[in-house]
């Protein structure tokens, strides 16, 4: 039976889709049969990040409304074995999602996959609530800034009340904190919240810390999840995150500023 993991944040633009794509890729690279579902109906992006936008025929809404089967709508990733994508519809809005439809799709996928990653839209409305409703675990993506932390706090409140696990009184959704766009130098300057402040406010377990990195933007624009770029800091940080998700103990990296050498201090070398 598959584990359903929602990637959510409340606030937009913090890196939900990037993280969902990178984590799904990482899980598949480790041999787990994984599907990543875009719940952002109307503003679909996941297909771009995954580099499969030219192969979309049917989407999530088509399947919910019975116009296509799951097999027709899921797209097999070309680079990674075991990885599949279920894209969102761009021409509809989130009202097209129904709880029954989402439940039917997830239970069908559960038979076949090891991991189902739900890429939530921003906000706390219907789309976001449906993305989290059936989740077993949640990855809450947070940037080191106050507004993002507050929105994550709000989402954590919803996870503990507006999910099926909460409503049926089962074990609560397991919550993981993923901090993205972390820049240790700017934290040291006081421009960004530091790691301890964020974990203290949100009081959930940290599963990963992704440094602010040019590799992420490059990966997004090329449509190749950053996990494939294992020479980059962000790619390695996502690989660490995946290991922790699979239950391994991995030491935290990239959270301290690198001491700059004499030359790079003079020439202001770019990271």
């Amino acid at each position: 039976m598959a584990k359903i993991i929602v990637v959510t944040s409340g606030k937009g633009g913090v890196g939900k889709t990037t993280s969902a794509a990178a984590i799904a890729t990482g899980l598949a690279l480790r041999g787990n049969k994984t599907i990543v579902i875009d719940f952002d109906v109307g503003l679909r992006n996941l297909d771009l990040i995954m580099g499969c936008e030219r192969r979309v025929v049917y989407d999530l809404v088509n399947v919910i409304q019975g116009e296509a089967t799951l097999n027709q709508a899921t797209i097999r990733d070309k680079r990674t074995e075991n990885l599949y994508i279920l894209p969102a519809s761009q021409t509809r809005d989130k009202d097209a999602l129904t709880p029954e439809g989402v439940e039917r799709i997830l239970s069908e996928l559960k038979e076949e996959f090891d991991f189902i990653i739900c890429d939530s839209p921003a906000g706390i409305e219907r789309g976001a609530q449906l993305a989290m409703y059936y989740a077993d675990e949640a990855i809450v993506v947070t940037n080191p800034e106050v507004s993002s932390v507050r929105d994550s706090d709000r989402i954590l409140g919803l996870l503990s009340s507006k999910t099926r696990r909460a409503e049926q009184g089962n074990d609560p959704v397991r919550e993981h904190l993923l901090i993205t766009r972390y820049n240790p130098e700017r934290v040291d300057h006081g421009d960004m919240l530091n790691l301890d402040d964020i974990t203290e406010i949100l009081s959930i377990k940290l599963i990963g810390l992704i440094p602010e990195s040019e590799a992420v933007l490059r990966a997004s624009n090329q449509g190749v999840p950053v996990t494939h770029d294992n020479s980059s800091d962000a790619g390695q940080a996502y690989a660490d995150t995946v290991s922790r998700l699979l239950g391994e103990e991995v030491t935290l990296r990239f959270h301290q500023a690198q001491k700059k050498g004499f030359l790079s201090r003079i020439f202001g070398g770019r990271r």
Binding site: T91, D93, D95, R150, D151, D153, R154, L156, S161, I201
Partner: protein, 240 residues
């Protein structure tokens, strides 16, 4: 474009809601007596009288003919908005409707009708214990957007109250953790209550309608263990 088309047939949706509502329990039907007492209440907690919607409860009155229109006028003159009437004889019900107010059956009857509806109990993963005397103990983090209240007594939170969260109590509030949200004690007008916390960073502190915003709080007190109390309608914050 597609938005308009999809929404064409739904000008509105009905949603169930449980809103906090002030009930004004009348023990006198004399508008002049009520007016006199309202004036003294306003001086006690002016913040409360800001077009607050109230339900006029006439359950404890035994008067078939009520000067409902005059009662409403008195309330409105003191910035209370009567929205409905609870209890009373058929005549009261009819005159409430005539005035454009709602009517609720008396409490006992209501309790019975509510029972027949299957109750939806929201699961609360945080541990929440009702204590004797109407108080409440809440263990866990109160998160942004959440509201925890003890409408009949003290509220104890063992954990953090985060920014954007709101905790309310008829009695005192104790937070064993950082208080970053809003804390309102004495919500029914009790002035002998306090707010206590381990680490002050509250957005708002209030006792019985007297409040201080984060901006009004002496920065030297931030991050410290404090108590808040009311003295002569003045809110004092003191380090513990």
């Amino acid at each position: 474009m597609s938005l308009n088309m999809d929404r064409e047939n739904t000008a509105f949706t009905f949603k169930g809601g449980m809103l906090p509502m002030t009930v004004m329990e009348l023990s006198s039907a004399d508008p002049e007596e009520i007016r006199a007492q309202l004036v003294s209440k306003i001086s006690q907690s002016p913040a409360f009288f800001q077009h607050t919607p109230v339900v006029l409860s006439v359950e404890k009155l035994d008067e078939p003919h009520l000067a409902l229109e005059r009662l409403c006028a008195v309330c409105r003159a003191h910035k209370l908005l009567p929205v409905a009437v609870r209890g009373g004889a058929d005549g009261v019900k009819q005159s409430a409707w005539a005035l454009g107010l709602g009517w609720f059956p008396p409490t006992e009857e209501r309790a019975r009708t509510v029972e027949s509806v299957p109750a939806v109990v929201p699961a609360e993963p945080a541990v929440d214990i009702a204590v004797p005397g109407g108080g409440r103990v809440y263990r866990g983090t109160v998160r942004s957007g959440q509201q925890v209240s003890a409408p009949d007594g003290d509220l104890v939170v063992v954990g953090a109250v985060n920014a954007g969260a709101e905790i309310l109590a008829a009695g005192s509030i104790h937070v064993y953790g950082p208080l970053r949200g809003r804390a309102l004690a004495g919500i029914h007008g009790d002035t002998d209550v306090g707010v206590f916390c381990n680490e002050l960073n509250a957005e708002l502190l209030s006792i019985s309608g007297n409040y201080k915003r984060l901006e009004d709080i002496d920065p030297a007190l931030l991050g410290r263990a404090i108590q808040v109390y009311l003295n002569n309608d003045h809110l004092y914050i003191e380090a513990l």
